[in-house]
């Protein structure tokens, strides 16, 4: 499975978990950055498609980290933020906290990979849906009516 275009940032307070997650996702072809810096993580955001955030971290929780990352605005608008937890109740409330979704079964990297893969498929699906809408609009004559204007501008 090639995922060369998938760039992921993982934020957790445990290097053990970060190493395992990075190894599992890198083996699937993703570009993975990992950090334990919950406060200064924004500097790793550039170019990321997906940010995976632990919830319970020393003196801070994932909700706060998420808000600080969103405020920093260093990520692309299409970047998705997912909570990584083993607690189904916390996962259920991920939407309330402002996350785009949650990954369950924390600590089991074998089960994390298909979940991450599903998110990247979703990203590609949305791009394909947008492309199909534009193609349809072009076929229905939208581009034809704009063509003279474009020619004029280029002239």
């Amino acid at each position: 499975m090639g995922n060369d275009d998938g760039c992921i940032l993982v934020i957790d307070d445990s290097w053990v978990i970060l190493d395992r997650v990075r190894a599992a996702l890198s083996a699937e072809g993703y570009q993975v950055s990992a950090t334990t810096e919950s406060v200064g993580a924004a500097k790793h955001l550039r170019g990321c498609d997906l940010v995976i955030i632990d919830f319970h971290m020393p003196g801070i929780d994932g909700k706060f980290v998420l808000n600080s990352l969103r405020r920093a605005g260093a990520a692309s608008p299409t970047c998705l933020y997912y909570l990584y937890t083993s607690d189904p109740e916390v996962a259920r409330r991920s939407g309330e906290f402002g996350f785009d979704g949650s990954f369950l079964h924390k600590g089991n990297e074998a089960l994390l990979v298909p979940q991450v893969s599903a998110v990247f498929r979703t990203i590609r699906m949305r791009k394909l849906a947008t492309k199909m809408r534009e193609d349809k609009r072009a076929r229905s004559g939208g581009l034809m009516s704009r063509a003279p204007k474009a020619d004029k501008e280029s002239a």
Partner: protein, 736 residues
């Protein structure tokens, strides 16, 4: 008001769905024919009775006219001459006729009725002498002029009774009535019988056959007896029936072939429409894979993600894919199919998992997808076999990582977990006390981190203890969050017990690590250092023979387990290349190998292991035939001796034909292959080991295996080898 576009539905159409009462065609025909026959019979009856009466009355009128003419003629003379006696005599004569009820005689001369009877004598019948006949219901009146000498002298009127005619008419009418009734009944019966025989029964047979066809039965051909419309209908029905069943037979055969094909494909095959709702046929394997008998109306999402919660990333992605798949044009299907899930893992109710490989194919001839076919292949068994095969290699890989310094991560985890638990014990204190929110939060973070890391290393007991400690802190944490602090009172004992149990679990994890590591306890003490630095230190002080020199040599020594860890992973692969099966067993992994031997040992062991696979281990079929396990074992042992480590490498293969030949360069291997050359490998091993002052002793037992012993030169006597019983052995020293 109804506008132009309003469609007015007739009332009859609105009630068209109501069931209508059944009237059989036979009944309707019988009623219709009965009515027609009754009307016809009534007409005939009326006509016949009318004619009968007319005939009777006409005959009566003729007779009456004749009698009256005679009577008038007999009165001519009496009236002309005015002879009353003669008139009365004629009256008496006519009175003798029983048919005459009344008589009157009018005299023109006297202008009065001069004679009569039955009331006629007193009746003024007038002076009209014109002949006249009048018929009433009961009588016939006849008037005739009486002609005298050259002129009319009067006229006579006789009234004849119709009683006999009426009686005869009544009798005839009754006879005609019964005749018509019998005729109507007979005709109706005959028509009904003919209709039933010619129309109703053939139609009933056709109806019965059509109903059998409707039920899906193969109806026998309807017998055709007539060459009329019914006969043609029956012939057409028989042809249609045969055509239907011929098509059904072909469809059934096709379906059976398809089902057989699908079943042979060993795939769970389902078809679903927009919204992901399953409909239509499914393969037999689908029932096994998804554990249900019926699929109609079931959502495919619930089949492949049965345990998915509302926030499940995989199930949500599949929902979006479904929407996209049915909205996408046909020419974009390949791109859409690429984005479908390739694999799902189902948790089985009885425990265990089922791995399904998924494939989605479009169904539809139009510009979009009408339906989508899911082909799910159960890969569980295949994955299991692969996992079993890889498990050994993975374990070896883990060991290799541990041996090469990766184990320090685990050791670090053990140390950090102990440190975190120690900090938590410190925060909890020796006795119940008031804990600040920050202290509770710190304990929670430590517990949570240890739990996550324990899960990572699959130390599930430790993870469970940490989960329990987290749970115990929940209430305390809530109180501290609300008030800024919380009394550890009730939770104290439980937290203390939990931390003691967690500490034990950490110890158990360490013990497990030591047991599974090829380095043993040495793995706990190793640190990563740069080998050139150690080598340089050894070169500088190793020859001194004092404590510093000995310490330098110990630092440069490497555990035996570290040297062979990579081999354990490679042996099965090498064997696989030779279409054989083999595994490596290691003993004495924590024995330290001095630097001089360590430098050459790895290469020597590679040669010996490859040699054992190429010449010692048999193919699985040969091994099974010889009563051995199909997987061969290469065992590498290392033990410490006063003269230095002593090693043995043995296999349970066929044993060398001649152990001595193994040491003759270029002659030991009559069939060189990719694993072993022409005996150069074993010679090179001896040469390499000589540099470390080690000798190789070879023992071979034909059919039972070969053992190479690597012995410190100081511990052996130089010998050329020999044979003891059925064992051949040879010893080659460094000097030989």
């Amino acid at each position: 008001m109804v506008d132009d576009h309003t469609v007015v539905v007739p009332t009859a159409r609105m009630t068209a769905d109501e069931p209508r009462r059944f009237f059989s065609l036979g009944t309707k025909l019988a009623v219709g024919m009965g009515l027609v026959v009754i009307l016809a019979s009534a007409f005939v009856f009326v006509e016949l009775t009318a004619r009968e009466r007319k005939n009777l009355v006409d005959a009566k009128v003729t007779a009456a006219t004749m009698v009256t003419d005679l009577f008038a003629a007999s009165l001519a003379a009496p009236l002309d001459f005015g002879d009353p006696d003669a008139i009365n005599l004629e009256i008496q004569n006519v009175r003798s006729n029983r048919q005459v009820e009344r008589a009157s005689v009018w005299s023109q001369a006297e202008k009065r009725t001069v004679a009569g009877f039955g009331g006629g004598e007193a009746e003024a019948i007038g002076d009209n002498s014109e002949p006249w006949v009048a018929v009433t219901a009961d009588a016939v009146d006849v008037r005739r002029p009486v002609i005298g000498r050259k002129k009319t002298v009067g006229h006579a009127v006789l009234t004849f009774s119709l009683a006999e005619e009426n009686a005869a008419y009544a009798a005839s009418r009754a006879r005609i009535f019964w005749l018509c009734l019998a005729l109507a009944g007979g005709t109706s019966g005959l028509l009904v019988m003919l209709t039933r025989r010619q129309i109703v029964r053939p139609l009933e047979r056709l109806l019965g056959a059509a109903q059998r066809v409707e039920r899906g039965e193969h109806a026998p051909a309807v017998t055709v007896q007539a060459n009329d419309e019914i006969g043609r209908l029956a012939t057409a029905f028989n042809s249609m029936n045969e055509a239907i069943f011929d098509r059904e037979d072909r469809l059934e055969t096709l379906n059976a072939s398809q089902r057989e094909l699908l079943d042979h494909m060993r795939q769970a095959i389902l078809v679903f429409g927009e919204g992901g709702v399953v409909s239509g046929a499914h393969s037999r394997e689908a029932m096994t894979v998804f554990g249900r008998d019926a699929f109609d109306g079931v959502k495919v999402r619930d089949l492949i993600y049965p345990q998915a919660g509302p926030g499940s990333a995989e199930a949500s992605a599949f929902d979006e894919w479904l929407e996209l798949a049915f909205a996408a044009p046909a020419d974009a299907w390949d791109e859409v199919a690429e984005l479908a899930p390739r694999e799902v893992i189902l948790e089985l109710p009885a425990g265990g998992q089922r791995v399904l490989e998924l494939e989605f194919r479009r169904i539809g001839r139009g510009s979009q997808q009408d339906r989508i076919m899911l082909l799910a292949t159960d890969e569980s068994e295949k994955r299991h076999l692969k996992r079993v095969g890889e498990q050994y290699a993975q374990q070896m890989a883990v060991m290799r990582r541990f041996a090469s310094g990766g184990g320090q991560i685990f050791v670090t985890f053990l140390e950090s977990s102990r440190r975190r638990l120690g900090r938590c014990r410190q925060l909890l204190g020796e006795a119940p006390r008031t804990l600040r929110l920050g202290e509770v939060e710190e304990m929670f973070q430590h517990f949570h981190t240890i739990k996550g890391e324990a899960h990572t290393f699959e130390l599930m007991e430790l993870r469970a203890h940490m989960h329990g400690l987290e749970e115990r802190l929940v209430e305390l944490r809530a109180t501290a969050t609300e008030r800024g602090s919380a009394d550890s009172g009730e939770a104290f004992a439980g937290l203390q017990r939990g931390m003691v149990a967690a500490a034990s679990a950490i110890e158990a994890g360490e013990q497990l690590f030591v047991e599974t590591s090829p380095l043993g306890r040495a793995a706990l003490e190793l640190v990563t250092v740069r080998r050139p630095d150690v080598q340089k230190l050894c070169d500088m002080v190793g020859a001194r023979g004092d404590e510093l020199g000995k310490l330098a040599l110990r630092l440069a020594s490497r555990p035996f387990g570290e040297i062979v860890s990579t081999l354990a992973e490679r042996v099965p692969t090498w064997a696989d290349g030779e279409r054989k099966r083999a595994r490596l067993e290691i003993e004495g992994g924590d024995v330290m190998i001095p630097p001089a031997l360590a430098r050459v040992l790895s290469g020597c062991l590679v040669h010996l292991a490859r040699n054992a696979i190429a010449h010692g281990i048999e193919t699985p079929a040969v091994r099974v035939a010889a009563g051995k396990d199909e997987t061969g074992v290469i065992r590498m042992r290392c033990e410490d001796t006063p003269h230095g480590p002593r090693l043995s490498i043995e296999d349970d293969g066929s044993g060398m034909k001649s152990a001595e030949r193994a040491h003759q360069r270029g002659r030991s291997n009559p069939s060189p292959n990719s694993l072993s050359g022409r005996g150069v490998g074993l010679g090179a091993v001896e040469t390499e080991l000589r540099t470390a002052d080690y000798v190789v002793v070879t023992e071979a037992t034909e059919g039972a295996g070969t053992r190479f012993s690597l012995i410190p030169g100081a511990a052996t006597d130089a010998s050329g080898g020999g044979t003891v019983g059925d064992k051949q052995w040879v010893m080659t020293t460094a000097a030989s």
